[in-house]
Structures are given as C-alpha cells and as structure tokens.
C-alpha cells in the first residue's frame, strides 16, 4: 500500500525548495537540476485537472462543498494507482476536518507529512511579491480566518480552492495532524542545510549519507535555481510574480515591515512558537 507523504506548508515557506531537494536526492544525478523536469512528480493536492481526471466530472460544475467531500476519495484513488512505496504530494491547504468528520487530507498509517514553517514576517514579504499584494494586504491575509487561495467565484483558477485560515491556525492544524510528521524550520534549513535535510532523510527512511545529501543540496541551491529562472520560466510561478526564486532570505521581514505589521504577526507567531522545534 502506497503511503502519501504531504510536503505541506503555508505558501512561500520553502515548500518548493524541499521538493527540489527530494527530486535532487532521489534522482542521484550530478548535473544541475532542471526545475521544470525534476523527475519527481509531486502533484499538488488542489490540482483541478487531476481531480477532474479521477472523478470524471467537471469540478467547475460542482459546488465547493461537494468538491471538498470528494477530495479524500481522489487522494486515495491516486495513491492506489502508483506502485511506488511513497507518493509525494505538495499541499498548501490547512489541515482540517470536513463537516462529516473525515480529515480532508487523510490520517493514520497511510499518510505522513513534512511540514515546513517559516517565520511569518518573511512569509509576508515573499507573499507580497508573489501575489502582487502590499505588505499591509499580505499581513491582513495571514491574519484572516477566511483566507484561501484559488477561490474566485468569477473565474476558474487551475487549482481548486484551498482554505488556509490564519497563519498560526495553519501551523497548529498541521502540528496536530494524526499522522507521522517531520516539522522543518525554514531558518534552520538555511543556516545548516545538511543537518536539516539529514533529519528529513532519516524521517523518510531514505538511504543517504551526509555527502549524498550535500551533493543533492548543491544541485538545487537557490542561486542555481535563480539562474535557471533567468533562462526559462518556472512553471509554478504565479501570474502576478515576475520571478519565483527571488532570494529566500531570512530576515527580510524585520527590514521591511512596520512595527504595527510586525506586532500583528508576532501575535500569530507567539501562539505557535513553543510548539515548534528549535
């Protein structure tokens, strides 16, 4: 039975970097990674095309509640299709329960999660660039109980609606998910990537030593990906962003956010800080 491993995060928190690392590690290749053909498929949980393909009905014609109710069945069907022991999938949705009590993103032995947390002030700066928001809008979005992605009643986004909720609730929801989890701090990964990714490798039970991990990290180094993006568009770049790999720096939020914005995000951070690994 295939295990679904969610690579989960709030948007702009390092999800793509972790997936690029996994692709790099699992390929075993030495050449620089091609970000559009990494060799590792990580179909996003909210892919509309995938949903429609499995369900055989146009999701555009189903109310959001019915789409949500079908998503666990779609995930189960996708896992059943593969013969690989692990199916890695990207997800930004908050971990939550449907009205009938089922977990939207599964629970139990058939699931596991890698959850990446990034300090919210840096997330806000990154979101403002990626989604074309002001910093005020980004902070307000992260503090909004009703925040969601791809929810547009006037059009058809290529992804299904993804409820995020407040940033701290997103973190808490995933920390409480009933499945084996590996929680990665983005800042710790940036500071000591080999150590951080070794913990990930150990959690996933992948046979890799420090040298192999270091080599995989080199192949998907930020500068490598950024230079590649100067030659071709990364397919996950949003419509309002000029680039996807902007820099990923730690500390931008402290430089750019106002005291009022920082205070608002600190309230969210304080709610979860103690529950996170150091």
């Amino acid at each position: 039975m295939t295990t679904t491993c969610w690579i989960a995060s709030y948007p702009r928190s390092g999800n793509t970097w972790v997936r690029m690392f996994l692709a790099s590690l699992l390929s075993g290749a030495r050449a620089p990674l091609d970000f559009n053909s990494s060799g590792l498929s990580t179909p996003i949980a909210s892919s509309r095309a995938l949903f429609d393909r499995v369900v055989g009905l146009p999701s555009a014609w189903l109310p959001e509640t019915e789409v949500e109710a079908l998503r666990p069945d779609v995930d189960r069907a996708l896992a059943a299709r593969t013969s690989d022991p692990t199916l890695f999938r990207k997800v930004h949705d908050a971990y939550r329960r449907l009205p009938d009590g089922r977990a939207l993103l599964g629970e139990g032995a058939d699931f596991r999660a890698v959850y990446i947390v990034r300090e919210p002030w840096d997330v806000a700066v990154s979101m403002s660039h990626f989604f074309g928001m002001t910093l005020d809008q980004a902070v307000a979005f992260m503090d909004d109980t009703n925040a969601s992605l791809a929810s547009n009643p006037r059009g058809l986004p290529p992804q299904l609606p993804q409820r995020l909720g407040r940033w701290n609730h997103h973190v808490r929801g995933w920390l409480d998910a009933q499945m084996p989890k590996c929680v990665l701090r983005y800042e710790a990964l940036r500071a000591a990537p080999v150590d951080g990714f070794m913990a990930l490798v150990s959690f996933l039970g992948l046979p890799a030593d420090q040298e192999t991990v270091a080599r995989a990290i080199e192949r998907c180094d930020f500068e490598v990906l950024r230079q590649q993006e100067q030659r071709q568009r990364f397919r996950e770049t949003g419509p309002r962003a000029n680039v996807f790999f902007r820099g990923g720096r730690v500390g931008e939020g402290h430089e750019q956010l106002s005291p009022v914005q920082m205070e608002r995000l600190h309230r969210l951070w304080d709610d979860v800080e103690r529950a996170l690994p150091a």
Partner: protein, 282 residues
C-alpha cells in the same frame, strides 16, 4: 419521448433537452435516454472510482445531489435516476457532457474535450486541462463572428476522404463572469447551474460537420521540445479525450481509443499555446 440531434448523434430522450435541436421522428435513434431506477453501484464493477463504476459493458455515474446515470448496451442506452432534490437542468447538464461522452466512447466514437470554432471553412479546436481557457479562446473568435462548433464535447470521426470531421455540439459557450466582462459579451446570460457563476452565452453556430484542421493545446508553459513528434501529439489528444477517466486503468475499448488518438495526431495540425488569460490565484 422526443428526438434530438446532438453532436451528430440522434437521441430519443424522456428528458427535455432545451438547448439541443429537435429532429424528425423518422430519424433512426442512436442513443435512448430513459428515466428509471439506477443502482447505487455496479456489483460486477471491474473498476470503482469515487463517482463512477466501470462494468463489462456498463458504466454507472454517481453525481452528488443530481442523480445516477447508467450507460448500457455498448452506449446505446442511458438510464437516469435523478436525486430527490435534483433540478432537471442539472440532470441534463451532466447527461449531455461526461455521461454522453462515455456513451459515445462505448460506441466507438472519439470525443475531444475542446471548445472549437469555424475558421476559413474548417474547425479550429482549443483543448487542454480544466481552467486552461478553452472556451475563452473560442469566445474570442466567436465574438469576432466565427461560428461556434463546440464548448466541451467535440465528437470526431474520419470521413471517406480521410478528413477528421468535427460535429457541432451546441450554439453556446460556457463562460465565467470575468471572461464575459473582458470580452464585453453582455449581461444576464443564464446560469449553467444554480449557485455557480458559470453562464451559457449564445453564439451563432455551425449546423453541419466540418473538417478539423487544427488543435491548439493550451498549456501552462512551453511546448514540449519534441512537439513535432506524433507521439507527443497523440499523447495530448488522448489526455484530453473526454473518455480518458473512464478508460484509465485498462478497458477493452482502450485499444480502439489509442488507434483513434494516433489517427487524429497524424491527420490534424497541432499548435501549443500559453493559456490565453491566466486566472488569478487569490
């Protein structure tokens, strides 16, 4: 029971199909549509998915809050049992698209998920994943005067001359408010389904089958580097077949479907194009 012609196929239906042209009672019937009990599932299903079961010569669809549809007799009969809360227009909506497409596939037809228009006497079809902008692209031509051939169901066949023929679906395109506004297509168009913003916008339409000349694959990104290879074209055609979900996982009709894909890939011009208007993320 009334008779209609939909995508070049004569339907005798117990359900009124208000958006589909009538035909004379004398035309031979291709598919009969009746109202009657439909089981919750197929006991002999060879494949069971969240919303459909596949049996040996039967496919059963379960559409939440709308009803169950059973396609039998190699696609010659469709039984419909509506949900108690269902409205007729919703029952017909699903009947004439995913259910009908599978019935056609069971009969040996190929159905491409494509919006299409007539350009210079031949059909230009836009295909691609959900939300790629197929109807939007077709609407940009229709608004400039091109006849509409299809919104989502493009039935194809091969003529004696070797042309791939495309059959007219309906005189409308289903568009979201953003697209309607961007193309200034007017207001007050009827909703496709209550509670959703999608609307049915009428256009002048083709009435006869025409040769399919070009398929434009709408995608997010560049054309595959080997776009010239027929295998890539064939893969794109098969991926965008409306019967693809039903055929996944093995099905005797799959072989015929594969050969169809190869024929279309060989006979039709392909282009790859970026999504015409990339929807907003948030």
């Amino acid at each position: 029971m009334s008779r209609y012609c939909y995508c070049g196929v004569v339907l005798e239906s117990a359900w009124a199909l208000p958006c589909v042209p009538d035909v004379d009672a004398g035309r031979p019937v291709d598919i009969t549509i009746a109202q009657g009990p439909v089981p919750d599932y197929l006991p002999d299903a060879t494949r069971r998915m969240p919303t459909f079961d596949v049996g040996l010569n039967t496919v059963l669809f379960r559409v939440p809050s709308v009803g169950r549809y059973c396609i039998r007799s190699a696609g010659r009969r469709i039984d419909v049992e509506p949900a108690p809360e269902a409205v007729d227009s919703d029952v017909v909506l699903f009947l004439l698209d995913p259910v009908f497409a599978v019935a056609l596939a069971m009969r040996g037809d190929f159905v491409l998920n494509a919006a299409s228009v007539v350009v210079d006497g031949a059909v230009l079809a836009f295909s691609g994943a959900s939300g790629a902008g197929k109807s939007v692209a077709a609407a940009s031509y229709a608004a400039a005067g091109a006849l509409v051939v299809s919104d989502s169901v493009l039935r194809l066949s091969v003529s004696g001359d070797g042309d791939v023929l495309a059959y007219p679906q309906a005189p409308w395109l289903r568009l979201w408010p953003d697209a309607i506004g961007r193309q200034d297509l007017g207001e007050s168009h009827p909703l496709v389904r209550s509670g959703l913003g999608l609307r049915r916008v009428p256009f002048a339409a083709a009435s006869l089958p025409l040769p399919l000349r070009t398929i434009v694959m709408l995608s997010d990104g560049e054309a595959p580097p080997e776009a010239a290879l027929s295998s890539r074209r064939m893969a794109a055609v098969l991926r965008n077949s409306l019967a693809a979900p039903w055929l996944d996982g093995g099905n005797p009709t799959r072989i015929r479907h594969l050969s169809w894909g190869a024929e279309i890939a060989r006979r039709v011009t392909f282009q790859w194009s970026d999504i015409p208007h990339r929807p907003q993320i948030a």
